[in-house]
Symmetry: C2
Subunit: 543 residues, 2 copies
């Protein structure tokens, strides 16, 4: 029997936009311009401009489901696109401006983007591929300046709106946003987020047991807004009325530290590389900035090391460990201490905080090995599978990827995990990054985490290299701290205190830089390619 | 275009039940038994028993949508019914054990309840109406004791389950729970809550900007579980894994104070009458109990007075002011200070806290007078209308109530409000309780709030009485504090400091007790009936 509730009240973005206009029109949004000055306006201004964009897109003939691509930094106009596009029935397709032009062409053609909004300083990137894609109209955003050149000015467009925009009916399952995973292998794959998934994910971010984002927070997403919906921060901030701070194009550590302190940010986020840079700056000059008390960050993309969490904590930056991926909106698990668990201190606390946590409400997780669910015993290893209302159920027009979903509808994450008796997930590796030596699995992530805890090591990658006798053996590729020196023998001894002999890499290679993807993930496939012909005869082996 | 998310992942109660079993099986649920002893078990136990109930209901032939009534106090078995019944496709229909038997008969027949679970001590109530209703099977709950007599024992039934219950497919719009409003006029009207509305409402309760309920809370609902889903506390606690404490049949102030302190409750709720009793006990013996720091309560049903909030604050009990009704699940608005508002102290803080707050995320409010939306200026008065995913869109089989919804789909609350420029709602009266004197509206609630702030006044009701010249005039009916004495003249002067002359009641009548509904609301219709033939010639009038 159907309930008597308002079952047709849809979970759609216009509801969030209207709420913030009615209740939080005075709250500020701060964005750094290219000239380093700060642009400030309010949610009231944002609301009018997002609706002006929606109105003008309608005038331009946008049809329900049309993709409007953005090639933009984190700033207020990108936020306007986040809402203006889906609120008139379009799909905001956030493009990753760090991709290789060929990859951008692939993605834009695959997504069939119809319109594009582009930041002034990213125009050359678009110009380079303009002939290869099929954008019918380009809007140029120049941080409030008038546009010149070939393209329509974003400001001029908005100025021409009447203010009389009216919402079309939107179904909550309709797509609102689109992002492609910058996979380390294969072609990029697109995820179409729904209005519903974004609204529910925003609620989750606002849970006390989630990221506890509230209207009293000052939120600065350092994760690019083209990366998995900016991890949902922008939507949640708008829904709840939290002040937003955007770094614009200036994501160097000095600029970030200045904004963190200057705007008294209370919640931020970003990949470990960004936060490692910040930690280094703070260590060099510990008294330089006074942060808001209780400043917390989600550090993800790849997992932050225990060492990084410690270094940030010294400066009053508390790391919340959450896990997810583009396909999971992105938040799927979060590490929160349970009420009956003891309060941990020091070493134990950090070891605990490194776990990837347990599933958010409405998200279900399991780990599977050889077709069977593994027990939650903290030892058995299996591939993490997830499902829930903000998990992808498919990729956009990508039938060859159907195998990423199980027959009973779970998404295969590609992460190898253990799950302990309390439901805390521990990601030991990507399925394809595991090392199998002599029939035994070695977690490259565990060894990497141990290595970066060494004071001389800045970054570490452990990869499998083909071996005539053991099939595969691990080797470590390392970037040392500036001015540091350490011998392979010393690192080997350091690891042997924690690992079995056969788990310790046989070779330690020092390099100036490790290869990363455009969103800061270690590009292990490139390393494996580089070292696949390793000459074992010259390596003195531990085994 | 449809999104590629898992759009068919439904927001249903089994998801909450499974989560708590997987992640919070060690968390405790405490219930007071009739003999005053405490029953303790865990969410793990609760999970097995809720599923055992679901399994046995299936064996008894329950069909999707069948109503299973409960005539129960707040305790663990009622929680089992909250989940066991809807998780097998049934609808848990919580009956108000304080209703007149005739009213119960009306409701049970109207709802067509098929099964009933009844507390041992409430059996006589059922026996009295047994012949007039059509319950096919009765389960008797005796707090773990074996049942005897005519009915099936609840414990015996659960003991017979195999543990192999399997969920049926449930649609998120399907009804999960049912409650009738104990309206002060007309027949009771039924609301059918959906799985979806309950899940979304639970998320809201968990928002930092909501009730901030988290797994680290200890939650004690004093509001009966038959009153608007126990205000959603039980569902939210299960979803999030918070410890639950139930008072069972002992809701006297002494028993409650003992549990609040003994279990270190951090979030509670209940009607003002309950909390007034508690305040009095604490004032008589201030040192008797040490509560958890940060203990917060939602005091609702009728609005708590500023005076009551102050009295509770002295003892470390902070009142969160939220507003709602049976038709709104119940939470629709909450009073939270916005980030840019100054921190208020003393008198100003309490005056602010008395406002009913602004709309929760996903809830929309407006106030309408004579067909037009009133401006949010803090002065204009109109009837509050609401809509959202956990607002009723209809009553169950009650076509003559269609007028409670506007043509464009908003629910008419029957409350008269002002809304200020920040979106804070202030309920000035029920539509039918407003006093219209000489063409001017007088808010009975404002005058009542002022009266209970007087140290001699315990409870106050202000009602309209027909008047030959002014059409209506207000009179006040009062219960004084024990041992207190005060003259009408003194109260009149007291009110004149705050109100215009014509807003002050003309008569002050002292009584031993005021009439209340079964859920503790002032029964003004009864007072109006009692005083409708007021003899104005004997009253010295202010005007």
């Amino acid at each position: 029997m159907k309930s008597t509730m308002m079952n047709d009240f849809a979970l759609v973005l216009p509801v969030l936009l209207e709420r913030t206009a009615k209740l939080f029109s005075k709250v500020e949004i701060v964005s750094r311009r290219p000239d380093r000055s700060l642009h400030r306006y309010t949610y009231g201004d944002f609301y009018r401009r997002a609706r002006a964009l929606a109105e003008q897109l309608q005038r331009m003939g946008i049809q329900p489901g049309d993709r409007v691509a953005t090639l933009m930094r984190n700033h207020y106009a990108h936020l306007e696109a986040y809402f203006g596009i889906p609120c008139c029935g379009g799909i905001v397709h956030t493009l990753n401006c760090r991709l290789h032009p060929d990859e951008l062409v692939f993605i834009m053609k695959h997504a069939q983007d119809r319109f594009l909004i582009v930041d002034q300083d990213l125009v050359p990137l678009y110009e380079g591929i303009r002939q290869k894609v099929n954008i019918s109209r380009v809007l140029l955003f120049s941080y409030g300046e008038s546009a010149c050149g070939d393209y329509d000015g974003y400001e001029e467009l908005l100025a021409g709106a009447s203010g009389g925009f009216e919402y079309r009916k939107i179904d909550e399952d309709d797509a609102a946003a689109m992002a492609y995973t910058s996979g380390t292998t294969g072609n990029p794959k697109g995820v179409l987020y729904s209005h519903r998934s974004i609204v529910l994910h925003s609620m989750t971010i606002g849970l006390t047991d989630g990221l506890s984002l509230s209207q009293s927070d000052v939120v600065m997403p350092l994760q690019p807004m083209f990366h998995a919906n900016g991890w949902g921060y922008p939507h949640a901030a708008v829904m709840l009325g939290a002040k937003l701070v955007f770094p614009g194009p200036h994501v160097d550590a000095d600029s970030i530290i200045e904004l963190l302190a200057g705007e008294q940010v209370t919640l931020s986020g970003g990949v470990p590389t960004v936060w490692t840079n910040i930690a280094e700056k703070l260590e060099a000059e510990p008294q330089r900035a006074k942060f808001a008390s209780g400043l917390r960050i989600v550090c993800a993309g790849s997992a932050p090391s225990e060492a990084l969490m410690r270094r940030l904590a010294v400066h009053g930056i508390h790391t919340l460990h959450a896990w997810g991926m583009t396909e999971t909106s992105p938040f799927a698990t979060i590490n929160r201490r349970k009420s009956y668990m003891p309060v941990l201190r020091g070493q134990e606390a950090y070891a605990f905080n490194c776990r990837h946590g347990y599933a958010f409400p409405l998200i279900e997780v399991r780990a599977v090995s050889e077709g069977a669910e593994i027990p939650w015993d903290g030892k058995s290893m299996g591939e993490l599978e997830v499902r829930g209302p903000w998990i992808a159920g498919d990729y956009y027009k990508c039938p060859d990827q159907a195998g990423r979903w199980t027959e009973d509808g779970w998404f295969r994450t590609g992460d190898v995990v253990t799950v302990d008796g309390e439901g805390y997930v521990w990601i030991t590796d990507r399925v394809k990054d595991l090392v199998k030596s002599g029939g035994e699995w070695i977690s490259s992530v565990d060894v990497e985490n141990a290595l970066v805890a060494h004071p001389s090591v800045r970054e570490a990658a452990v990869i499998a290299v083909p071996h005539p006798r053991w099939v595969e053996r691990p080797i470590a590729v390392l970037v040392l701290q500036q001015g540091a020196a350490v011998s392979p023998q010393l690192l080997q001894n350091f690891l042997r205190e924690r690992f079995s002999k056969w788990q310790v890499p046989d070779a330690f290679i020092f390099v100036d830089e490790l290869p990363h993807t455009s969103v800061g993930k270690l590009l292990k496939s490139e390393l494996r390619r580089r070292y696949r012909d390793w000459n074992w005869s010259k390596t003195e082996q531990a085994l």
